[in-house]
């Protein structure tokens, strides 16, 4: 590897502000990359990565080539994401993830994923502490509004296998197990899916099943309650023309057990007196959704993705989702994506803006109220090998920046913040490295 300059990470002095932060965030990743490079001298992408100019826009760039059809195994890859969420309800969430995929034979691959959610919220807990509306004890850990007060950890392992012989030749299956735990909740999930290709690989049929067992043990209560979910799904993907691909998705979800939110409080004004109740919802919910997606290639460089979804459930919530995503390659160096998503939903049959008397089912959950949301997305993918920048000088690297602006409006103000409108800002910075 010839290089007119020392290692890429020394090319640019530390920067202030956001760029500085990104630069700093890149250092551990750069270390990871160089470490892997030394292990794997023979890199799959053969080109050298001599930095010639900040943006070469030329032959060294590599577009990540994805496996378009389900019978291909995922590529060997390490992916790190730093994600954050902020909203006007004063909730902040930071959730870094790391995922590794590795093939271990022609037909098998394994993937590992780890995620941490750090939620900092002036949420229900402070509400209890301040208002003392229940006999709740304050949480043992965390506490203050400006400190991370809840941590969730999630670990998952997955296995993919291509079937190379027998009756189901050309099919593939995957199995995933996931365990998630936070101080008042735990969840174990098993997921399996089977894909089968037909019509010269123009058609992919996929059936899936997700099963999960959750336990809820809120610190403000003395009980532990269980929830079980099972979600069979069916997906059909059809290549319609060399530039158009369509997908039909159907999913069924049955949730049973304790489905409510133990931290939410229903206030009933009964004869001039305010009484507080726990939320109570039915102990079963059957949820169905059907979706259709189309992806159309516009010319050589851009693609337009249209997705529609209709959802309905046994609590009478129904919703309609439309989303559009336009993506365009900016030369070989980058890909830009602009997305818009619109969503509106109806109200659960037992949701009331105000309960005049105690009822069998009562909730204040905004998710069960009539409302709509709009989501604006901008994403930028930078392909390694095109830039004289730390990390990005390596053609096996891809950086992803994702930003979403989310607005949700509900007919009844949120029970806690008292706002009808939620504005959230989601930022994600990700790096993928193929080895």
């Amino acid at each position: 590897m010839k290089s007119t300059l020392p290692a890429g990470r020394f090319n640019i002095p530390p920067l202030r502000g956001v760029r500085g932060v990104l630069w700093l965030a890149a250092i551990p990743f750069e270390f990871l990359v160089s470490h892997f490079d030394s292990l794997r001298a023979a890199s799959f992408f053969v080109g050298n990565n001599t930095p010639l100019a900040l943006l070469k826009g030329g032959i060294m760039c590599c577009l990540f080539i994805a496996s378009a059809f389900a019978q291909d195994l995922p590529q060997d890859e390490v992916q790190v994401n730093l994600n954050s969420y902020f909203d006007n309800f004063n909730v902040q969430i930071y959730y870094p993830t790391i995922a590794v995929t590795k093939r271990f034979s022609d037909s098998s691959s394994v993937n590992l994923r780890y995620l941490v959610d750090v939620i900092s919220a002036a949420s229900m807990r402070s509400y209890f502490a301040v208002d003392g509306v229940t006999s709740a004890t304050t949480k043992a850990e965390g506490g203050g509004d400006n400190h991370p007060d809840e941590v969730r950890q999630e670990a998952a392992i997955g296995f993919n296998e291509l079937l190379q012989g027998g009756l189901l030749k050309g099919g593939s299956f995957s199995l995933n197990a996931l365990y998630s735990r936070e101080h008042d909740y735990s969840s174990f999930t098993l997921a399996g899916s089977f894909s089968y290709l037909l019509a010269k690989k123009n058609t992919t049929l996929q059936v899936g099943m997700v099963r999960s067992w959750d336990r809820s043990f809120p610190q403000i209560r003395t009980w532990t309650r269980r929830k079980e979910v099972y979600t069979p799904s069916f997906t059909l993907t059809q290549a319609l023309t060399p530039k158009l691909i369509a997908q039909l998705l159907f999913s069924y979800n049955r949730t049973s057990g304790y489905i409510g939110d133990p931290y939410q409080i229903v206030q009933v004004i009964d004869g001039g007196q305010v009484r507080n109740f726990e939320t109570t919802v039915p102990d079963q919910r059957v949820r169905k959704a059907v979706g259709g997606r189309l992806n159309y290639k516009l010319g050589q460089q851009s693609a337009l993705n249209l997705a529609l979804r209709y959802y309905w459930d046994s609590w009478d919530v129904n919703s309609f989702t439309t989303s559009l995503l336009w993506q365009r390659h900016l030369g070989k160096a980058a890909t830009l994506g602009l997305g818009y998503r619109n969503y509106f939903q109806g109200r659960a049959y037992f949701f009331k803006p105000q309960y005049a008397a105690p009822e069998l089912y009562m909730t204040v959950d905004t998710k069960l109220e009539r409302g709509y949301s709009n989501d604006y997305e901008i994403k930028l993918t930078l392909n390694g090998g095109c830039y004289r920048l730390p990390v990005l000088s390596n053609p096996n690297v891809q950086l992803n920046v994702l930003m979403n602006l989310y607005h949700r409006h509900s007919e009844t103000p949120d029970w806690h913040s008292r706002y009808q409108d939620l504005f959230a800002y989601i930022f994600s910075f990700g790096a993928r490295y193929r080895f």
């Binding site: 080109g47 032959i59 022609d106 037909l198 049929l205 059809q238 039909l248 159907f250 309905w312």
Partner: protein, 176 residues
Amino acid sequence: MKRNLLILSALALSALALSALALLCAIAFAGSNPMNTAAPTFSGKTAQGQIINLADYKGKVVLLDFWASWCGPCREEFPFLVKLHEKAKRGNFSVIAINVDTEIEKMKEFLSKLEVQPSFPVISDAQGKIPAMFDLKGMPTTILIDKKGVVRYRHTGFTEVEKEKLVEEVKSLLVE
């Protein structure tokens, strides 16, 4: 409830119809497999403008490789074919690669990054006329034609197993 049933049945029906359609297509596409029949004669042009006729290769064992720069296993197979060709070309063996990229630049870009350049012809067939003659099932497709011009082996996809099989098959065809 009634409405939900209606939606559900409509969806189930369309899903069923699509699946049935897919199955029909699968049957329709089963097509003729030209195994153990004479290979269709074709000619094509390389990036350098050289005309390649399959007919000129009679008396040689020919490995036809249908590939594209956008296909992952094809990119893995190509360097292996370069090696195989180097080893066996002194016998009566040749590789003919047929690239199906719609933009010839993409093929050139891929080739320019190879450590060892192929010494066999690489035909550019942007219209996909040659692969249509051979009724490909997937990419890459590797076809072995014996000295008499008969299609003897076909491989779809590329894995370590295919690699070993290909070497053995080339050997056996060369001693025929």
